[in-house]
Amino acid sequence: MHALSLYLHFVRVRIQSQMEYRFSFLMDTFSHFCVTFLDFTSVALLFARFHTLKHWTLWEVAFLYGMIGISFALAEMIGRGIDVFPRLVVRGEFDNMLIRPLGTFYQVLAYQFQLRRLGRTSQALLVFCIASSHLGIVWTPVKLLFLIAAIIGGICFFMGLFVIGATICFWTVQSIEVLNIFTYGGTEAGQYPMSIYRYWFRHFFTFVVPLAFVNYFPALSLLGKADPNGSPMILSQIGPAIGPAFLSLTLVFWRFGVKHYQSTGH
């Protein structure tokens, strides 16, 4: 309970300082909203030309797009601190976290809260809502809960990727740009149904980097669609649990990294 209220305290302080530059904040949020919309327009244009993509309609793809967009934007909003972790190491601010009676991961999370990601979140949410109304999905409480679980699973998944990137900094100090392939590349790939991809690519994003579990499989279940590749329905049902599992696995790696932290300037 203390941890949660303290976290909210941190977040409030962070939001206050972001609000000091209100105009810049609003412009940033708005431009985020617009830019990501352009992004979606390109998907829509594709469908204007081809109508369907291997048995997937525009609104079904928009559904996938919205789901992963919400997860990614929220992960960036909450997990911004993990994203900027190299800076914490270089400036020695991570030392300050180690002298506090709080968990390190918790403090890195509390270090920043990027409210302007609301721009992207609301854009993705809008696309998602329009898509789901076109598809005529009836939101029963069970479905709604499943959706929330899937979104949380997605947030955990992306934060897990951030954690891997941050942990590598314990050895390299610099950030590893290669990991953007999985974060940004992951969101791009996840906007389209897994079934359109080649075998190796699909399996990589299912079993190595479990992107399919946080987006594609839960979406299949919500849409009441069977996987054209014939994967069992159980994968869809356990989907939301994979995100948290992935995150906890990356946190084991994180703790290992903390033990190898060398600090700066001895």
Partner: protein, 332 residues
């Protein structure tokens, strides 16, 4: 008396990577990295009793900060044992953190873009300090450190002296048993240094807070510590009473004056001219014979000056003397 800090055969090694130069070099670096092992702390031992103020001194890169970082749970030792309050800092980091205060002179432990007051409020929540205790502490610290002058100012806008006052007060809000100070007076002027020293003394005497202080500044040690531990090249060279090495601390100071004009006679009472070139003169003097203020006022009366500075004796000098006179570990 029981020891609050115990360090036994403690070592810390760092791997230092050698970077190859050039484009091809950085490409090769990706796949194979050469490294050298540097031993920053080499089998050191000491014990500190509750309520002591110990000066942990030594030249640059002797291993002072590394020791402090191990005692505060920031770094994991390579080998050896250490206990603070009976806890192993890197294994029980959070429990240890609750009972210690840490200040680094080189950078603040507060939140850079928050006002001092917000930072303190956050600490109150983090350490779950009862409101009564928080208020009482704040009032007490305010008396000596005069925090109210900059309590609403963001930490990034504070002067070095103000920042240090805020940092030290912040480190003591939760009534720690041990206070670790890493170069707390670095870069401060004489008045600011004195204020910080007075505060450390008061906290130590009134609250029995154990203080381990690393410093470059020998006057910190002379004014605060009864005991010093001297570390050089990762090993402890001396551990004992300050009085045992006091004779080694050179009494002589160096006064450097840049005159505004060329004067035929720049000699001063109780000083020896060590160096004279153009308008710059180095004077050697001992504060036992003439006070610094008298000396400066005499100069200002007689001459026009551009600049003036005083060099304190350096720890390197003591280290050299210890090696020379072989008083190695005599104090133990």
């Amino acid at each position: 008396m029981q020891s609050i800090i115990e360090v036994e055969d403690l070592s810390k090694e760092f791997k230092v990577y050698r970077h190859r130069q050039g484009f091809m070099g950085s490409f090769v670096n990706l796949f194979s990295r050469q490294h050298a092992v540097v031993r920053a702390v080499d089998h050191i031992n000491f014990k500190i009793r509750r309520g002591e103020i110990v000066g942990y001194i030594g030249p640059n890169a002797a291993g002072k900060s590394t020791t402090i970082k191990m005692l505060t749970g920031i770094l994991v030792p390579t080998s050896g044992g250490l206990r603070v309050n009976g806890r192993v800092p890197h294994e029980q980091r959070k429990e240890n953190a609750r009972r210690i205060g840490v200040v680094f002179g080189q950078r603040t432990h507060l939140w850079f873009d928050l006002p001092v007051e917000e930072s303190f409020e956050l600490l109150r929540h983090i350490y779950r300090i009862p409101m009564e205790q928080y208020r009482a502490n704040l009032e007490l610290f305010n008396d000596v450190l005069e925090l109210h002058n900059f309590f609403q100012t963001p930490v990034r806008q504070l002067s070095l002296g103000q920042r240090m006052r805020a940092d030290i007060a912040a480190a003591l809000l939760h009534d720690p048993d041990v206070l670790f100070l890493d170069e707390p007076t670095i870069g401060l002027d004489v008045v600011a240094k004195e204020r910080i020293r007075q505060f450390i003394r008061e906290i130590n005497q009134e609250r029995q807070v154990t203080v381990l202080l690393t410093t470059h500044d020998l006057s910190d040690v002379e004014k605060l510590c009864e005991r010093v531990i001297l570390i050089d090249h990762a090993r402890i060279l001396f551990d004992g009473k300050l009085t045992a090495i006091r004779s080694l601390i050179p009494r002589e100071r160096l006064l450097i004056v840049d005159y505004a004009e060329r004067y035929p006679n720049v000699e001063l009472r109780h000083t020896v001219i060590a160096y004279h070139e153009n308008m710059r003169v180095h004077y050697r003097f001992s504060p036992d014979n003439i006070s610094i203020t008298d000396l400066i006022s005499e100069i200002l009366e007689r001459f026009k000056i551009m600049d003036l500075s005083i060099q304190e004796p350096e720890i390197e000098e003591i280290v050299r003397l210890i090696y020379e006179r072989k008083v190695l570990l005599e104090g133990q």
